[in-house]
Symmetry: C2
Subunit: 349 residues, 2 copies
DNA sequence: CTGAAAGCGCTAACAA
DNA sequence: TTGTTAGCGCTTTCAG
């Protein structure tokens, strides 16, 4: 292949048959200048006569020249490429993050290698190895996880790494997370402000740090509002609608009934409103509901539509991009940063 | 940083201050061999004394040498990298495809650049440009779309492209799609086999080709089973639970009532079962329901859990990977290929 | 203002 | 068995 370029200037026949993409050599030859000159023209640098510059650019355009980033990267020792390793096979949480991150980096002309490790350390190693071979300028690690993860590695010294929606068990690492506790505060304060006095909390499994943090926020806000923490009003289960339904049945089997329920995610919340409706309990009239995640598939389809806490995953992804860019530029950064959630009010509260 | 490894026995001062990752040169120097020899040793090729080979490998391991893929790619004129451009901002459909594709290609040591264009042609152009600069070996285009899309381009001649879950308006292109019509046949035949005689079809907007194809499958299967096509039993609306609820209300306001409903997606199906339950109609006793997409968030949370059609998106993604690999290897391929769906039976039918 | 040439890290053909 | 070298496509001095 690529047996053009070799055709000396005087050679009549230049079959471009199976040639690869045009190189700067091709441009230079066709524009009758040296390679160095062509390069200068294309990179808008150096002193050049307007004439030659324009000529080179014209030729380049005509033959569809596009610089080979591989060669450029080799020269610059910067690949303008980053990797992202995800462990979230479902993707509902990481997708918005990755999307925003990719968008942010695309603005800077940086491309993103996406790797899915699905919680398999061997696959993770393999992907990391490949990425290091590609000389990525930075790395993002993301996942839907219950708890801290072991730091990724080993990696080239000095490779910037950002953990997002995922926390590394390493104080030197930078982690970007939603403020789960603050989100819970938002939810419960909202309910309290609306005059609710008996606020329950139905949530997911306690081995999720997020569950523990949200519980803290819930309790702290009750205390702050001078509301009682009623025995049996905190229920930890799984992340499903079925659990939401079951939990509501449990809550209403007691003597003391809630007038509001803060749910650990929107699926639980939806299960809750469904059951309440079927029991003839009015939402929000008798019981107000707030969910978590602000997942439109749930919040908008529920009857009534759900008030929910939004983790602002897009913003999180974008900020991860910002951080990574800064770190690539040499800035140091570390620690666990939690970013605020927001309350989206709909008809369930 | 990295002031290990580099200490050659005799060299006095070696400031490697800001040195990058170790190169093959470093390996060769430390192993006291030429670069060529080191290369041979590392690439397991050529004739070499066991001794030197092992020595080189040991040194390489010790200093954490990893070949620079950029340099390799430059030499080989193959980047072992492909791009994927997606227009699906939501990700529910494309994510399983991308995931499987990435996994398939990772098996071959090929990395994937992920680009999201969100249906903006300018962004698509920009991403494509960047990918071509990176000298990708192949391209995958994917999207959740109503209809054919304009072919992507312009691109380097001979760049293999696969459209998956998305069809290019270009007969020379290769498109991989689920067999929507066949999926509908599966659903309706299943209902007919169960003895249902009055089968309705509630589906999404008709500007989706998938909607039209599924409708064809529905009608053809009714005819085949000798069942009547009842006026008003085909309802086209939007892809939401609310529409599923509304449509069921419409269907049951008529004199002639269905004993089965084939729904265009699982959200519609869920809306349907919810309303039926609330109307006191038994599912599947009085009315059987079949959905489409086999989206567990819907099928498993519905009461009863939904029978649904699975488009096998993982298999589709994997096959896209296979096709791309073949095309990269030089094989020609084109046309629209539809891959079978499968029926997943649960309690709603 | 333009050309020549070194070098980024690696492979492969050819010499020794 | 090992070393030398040209070259992949590009940028960047340094000469002319």
């Amino acid at each position: 292949m690529r047996d053009d370029a070799v055709t000396p200037p005087d050679s009549p026949s230049q079959r471009l048959a199976v040639a690869g993409p045009p190189t700067i050599r091709d441009v230079a030859r066709l524009a009758n200048v040296s390679i160095g000159t062509a390069s200068k023209a294309l990179n808008a640098g150096g002193r050049l006569s307007k004439e030659t510059r324009e000529n080179v650019l014209r030729v380049a355009r005509e033959i569809g020249y596009r610089p080979n980033d591989l060669a450029q990267s080799l020269h610059r020792a910067k690949s303008r490429t980053i990797g992202i390793i995800s462990n979230d096979s479902f993707g509902r949480f990481t997708f918005p993050i990755v999307e925003a991150l990719e968008e942010r980096l695309a603005e800077e002309g940086i491309a993103v290698f996406m790797c899915n490790a699905t919680d398999d350390p061997a696959r993770e190693r393999q992907h990391l190895d490949q990425l290091l071979g590609k000389r990525i300028d930075g790395l993002v690690v993301t996942a839907r996880r219950a708890d801290k993860r072991p730091p990724i590695g080993p990696l080239a010294h000095g490779l910037p790494v950002v953990y997002v929606f995922s926390q590394a068990d390493d104080p030197g690492a930078l982690s970007l997370l939603p403020d789960d506790e603050g989100g819970a505060v938002l939810a419960v304060a909202h309910l309290a402000t609306r005059g609710r006095k008996h606020i329950a909390h139905v949530t997911g499994p306690e081995h999720f740090e997020a569950v523990r943090l949200r519980k803290n926020g819930y309790r702290a806000t009750l205390a702050e509002a001078g509301l009682p923490e009623i025995d049996g009003f905190y229920l930890s289960g799984v992340w499903s609608e079925a659990w939401g339904r079951e939990a509501v049945a449990k809550l209403f089997a007691r003597r003391e009934r809630p007038d509001a329920i803060f749910c650990g995610n929107d699926q639980i919340a939806r299960g809750a409103v469904d059951t309440l409706r079927e029991m003839g309990v009015r939402v929000p009239g008798d019981v107000a509901i707030v969910g978590f995640d602000n997942w439109d598939v749930m919040t908008l389809a529920a009857r009534p539509p759900l008030t929910s806490i939004d983790m602002n995953l897009n913003a999180l992804g974008r900020e991860a991009g910002d951080c990574l860019l800064d770190m690539i530029a040499g800035e140091a950064n570390s620690g666990v940063k939690r970013r605020p959630c927001s309350l989206v009010v709909r008809e369930s509260s």
